[in-house]
Amino acid sequence: MKKRYILNYDDNQHGAIVARDGAETMVQVDGGDLTQVNFRPVLNGKAISIRFGGRLHLIHLSNADGNGSVKATISGRPVSLTVMDELRAQALESLGDVTESGTIAADIPGLVVQIKVTVGQVVHKGEPVIVVEAMKMQNELAASTSGTVIEIPVTEGDSVNPGDPLVIIEPEPGV
């Protein structure tokens, strides 16, 4: 059984092949040799101990969303990765470039303290549009694209959760 994966982190893309044959596990990274690896899940399943390239590494891994987002820590260095199997990666690629989304969404739960724009207003990319307060800190969220504000689904004083749309902008690249 052979699986191909595309992994992305820090603007780097890597390919990996995982092959299993009975008790043996083989891995190939970025077109290198397909080599047998010794590894084992440790620390109650929170980490993998892996011997690779002649060295032993302890890598903490957790699946952030159950859907290909993986958080890893190696030697104190946290890394966020996305993992896709090759088929999915190809499918996404064939969709072509996606237009930049005009929806500004909450990234952490908080309280909407100030809305700086109104529906119909023309905004420029980077312009502050809304202020959300969390943990005694006011976070100014900026327009992700230039365009016209078409909807503001929240009002000042609302509690919001990650992913909640706050300001929706119809992108107009020429603005």
Binding site: L7, A23, V27, H57, L61, A64, S75, G76
Partner: protein, 511 residues
């Protein structure tokens, strides 16, 4: 002010705080055989301090203004549980004079200073005048409001440029402006007054000498409230972001033995001037020329108190409780000495690469390093949801070594072993700091982060072997997880336990 030794007994203490400091205080109280009462808000029902206390009382909704800051709720909780004393921790009501008065009026003991001490030290100008009259060095300048540029130029020429124009009602870095020569004075004064008027409704401006490249040195003191004060040496806290400390150490790498003696003596004098009771911290600015100036006194237990405990072998929570019990100061000055070196790293749920913006979420996994010289004061645990309502500090990692070099080497080891998945955090920031030449040679100032930190290039680098191993491990992790799901588990259950079982099954034979 002198309290008799007979009526200050208690056997149960309410801790009017949350997070790691509430946990730390509860631990200290338990060690002394005292009963412990926690208070909690809606968001803190399953917080660690609540789980650890003997009793816990619900005091209100999640915002601190409806719970931890409501004096009446805290007093009602104390009455309900028959607690005899209240420890305020830091923040919230810790330096609130009226609250401590209310506590004492309710017949309870406030484990901290008197309201009078808090009020003198809480007012920047009053404390400045008090210190000046007590012979403590304060930053040269004037205590009188200035509106006339010519008067301001006169003062600036006397104390020497650069000077700082400061709104008397200001705070948090607002309403301040540096003036480097007389030509800039008129417009700078006009602008600062305008800013002060609109921000604080008060345009009183003071002129102070601007200390370039300052270091933040503070001295721990203990007083019995009867005029006896000792110091427990200094801490240096110059690594700051947004005027908030991130790394602290003791001893300070910036003091000679002679300077250390003088600054500690000044701190003792400061506390003596107000017959200070309990644990307090006197903060100083240290200028590059070795002159130091009184900044302010914090009339509470400080966040960074553990570095002092690690190098002096003291327990400041025990000491505070004993003072509150009327037993006086449990250490003698001549017995105290600094042994070795301690560093404290504040663990914040924040993203250093995004201007240190706070982050929240569930602590998915946490591996806490151990070994010699390691202490973790924490308010969180695996599975805990970090709430949005409070300060994003999760824990403090304190590392001790025989000397500064060993403490730094050990800190690197410990920070590399420490793993936290869930909210973004600043553990790698600390690893970054420990590689900076100005930190390593001790010359860093309070401008360290703004001068040295590049948000685009600060994460520790992975070498090629690590990067390859990471890709291989992640691919394996994903392959195992997916095969686990396919193996007939319901829905998208991919909990680590499940994953592990599948992994172990499929990996039999691996060493």
């Amino acid at each position: 002010m002198a309290t008799s030794k007979t009526n200050r007994k208690f056997d149960k203490v309410l801790v009017a705080n949350r997070g790691e400091i509430a946990v730390r205080i509860i631990q200290g109280l338990k060690e002394m055989g005292l009963g412990t009462v926690a208070v909690y808000s809606e968001a803190d029902r399953t917080a660690l301090h609540v789980l650890m206390a003997d009793e816990a009382v619900f005091i209100g909704e999640s915002p601190a203004t409806e719970s931890y800051l409501v004096a009446d709720r805290i007093l009602a909780a104390a009455a309900e549980t028959a607690a005899g004393a209240i420890h305020p921790g830091y923040g919230f009501l810790a330096e609130n004079g009226p609250f401590s008065r209310q506590v004492e009026e309710a017949g309870l003991i406030f484990i901290g200073p008197t309201a009078e001490s808090m009020e003198v030290m809480g007012d920047k100008l009053a404390s400045r005048r008090k210190m000046r009259s007590s012979g403590i060095p304060v930053v040269p300048g004037t205590d009188e409001a200035v509106t006339d540029p010519e008067v301001a130029v006169g003062i600036a020429e006397k104390i020497g440029y650069p000077v700082l124009l400061k709104a008397s009602a200001g705070g948090g870095g607002k309403g301040m402006r540096i003036v480097r020569e007389s030509g800039e004075m008129a417009s700078a004064l006009r602008q600062t007054m305008g800013e002060a008027r609109s921000a604080f409704g008060n345009d009183a401006i003071f002129v102070e000498k601007y200390i370039e490249d300052p270091k933040h040195i503070e001295v721990q003191v203990l007083g019995d409230g009867l005029g006896n004060v000792i110091h427990v040496f200094e801490r240096e806290c110059s690594v700051q972001r947004r005027h908030q400390k991130v790394i602290e150490e003791s001893p300070s790498p910036s003091l000679t033995p002679e300077l250390r003696m003088r600054i500690c003596e000044a701190a003792v004098q400061t506390a003596e001037a107000i017959d200070y009771r309990g644990a307090g911290t006197v903060e100083f600015i240290l200028a590059p020329d070795g002159e130091f100036y009184f900044l302010e006194m914090n009339t509470r237990l400080q966040v960074e108190h553990p570095v002092t405990e690690m190098v002096t072998g003291t327990d400041l929570v025990h000491a505070m409780v004993k003072i509150a019990l009327g037993e006086g100061i449990c250490y003698r000055q001549e017995d105290l000495r600094q042994q070795g070196w301690a560093l404290e790293f504040r663990l914040y749920a924040e993203d250093p690469g995004k201007n240190f913006a706070p982050s929240i979420g569930r602590i998915e996994s946490m591996t806490v390093p151990q070994g010699p010289g390691v202490r973790l004061d924490t308010g969180v645990y695996e599975g805990y949801d970090v709430p949005i309502h409070y300060d994003p500090m999760l824990a403090k990692l304190i590392v001790w070594g025989e000397d500064r070099q060993q403490a730094i080497a050990r800190s690197r080891r410990v920070l590399r072993e420490f793993t936290l998945h869930g909210p973004g955090h600043n553990l790698p920031f600390h690893l970054w700091a420990l590689e900076q030449p100005s930190f390593l040679d001790g010359s860093y100032t309070t401008h360290f982060v703004e001068n040295e930190f590049d948000p685009a290039d600060w994460l520790p680098k992975l070498d090629d072997g690590q990067a390859e191993a990471l890709v291989a491990a992640t691919a394996l992790f994903e392959a195992l997880r997916r095969s686990g799901v396919k193996a007939g588990t319901e829905g998208r259950d991919c909990s680590p336990r499940n994953w592990r079982l599948n992994a172990l099954r499929s990996m039999t034979g691996n060493k």
